[in-house]
Amino acid sequence: SAVISQKPSRDICQRGTSLTIQCQVDSQVTMMFWYRQQPGQSLTLIATANQGSEATYESGFVIDKFPISRPNLTFSTLTVSNLSPEDSSIYLCSAGDNEQFFGPGTRLTVL
């Protein structure tokens, strides 16, 4: 198993700004993922964070809006850019090959 920490745990941001979320894993992992969880909707994969190369984005998500870094096997960041109220959501980081271990999430509110 892996223990995952995320920060910040929550933030309130103004429209048009950006928020960067950090995800730290307590051991080296191959696969890291970023999800969005909106009220009344299922967990949705934004992208797979690849170490040493560009992230792989799912349909409907683009790098300009959700740039991701993965500088090593224990750390990743997700930036949500040019924020709008529609970006208000919980963002979750996870790691694992088959079963996944999740961080506590970041609750983002955009005013």
Partner: protein, 115 residues
């Protein structure tokens, strides 16, 4: 398109009884299926994984079945306790962007165990 359905209505049961949650899927054949627990304000916690060639899997008070013909998984919690109250999520593996394997998630079923 691929679709996962879980009971949308909350399940309320009495302590000590067995809780049974259902996960149905359509339009694909996953290699494995997973169940997670999620408490309010927290990330999902992995519980069990069952592969397509396995009919049943157990872990302590938990039991999962996987019927690839019916395209259904049942998740049982025996001798339920109030501490089992949470939302339970079903997830199935699929192919995502770049042919990476990814999980597709159900909406979850809320379980309340009453003392």
């Amino acid at each position: 398109s691929q679709k996962i359905e879980q009971n949308s209505e909350a399940l309320n049961i009495q302590e000590g009884k067995t809780a049974t949650l259902t996960c149905n899927y359509t339009n694909y054949s996953p290699a494995y299926l997973q169940w997670y627990r999620q408490d309010p304000g927290r990330g999902p916690v992995f519980l069990l994984l069952i592969r397509e060639n396995e009919k049943e899997k157990r872990k302590e008070r938990l039991k999962v079945t996987f019927d690839t013909t019916l395209k259904q998984s049942l998740f049982h919690i025996t001798a339920s306790q109030p501490a089992d109250s949470a939302t339970y999520l079903c997830a199935l593996d699929s192919l995502g962007a770049g042919n990476n394997r990814k999980l597709i998630w159900g909406l979850g079923t809320s379980l309340a165990v009453n003392p």
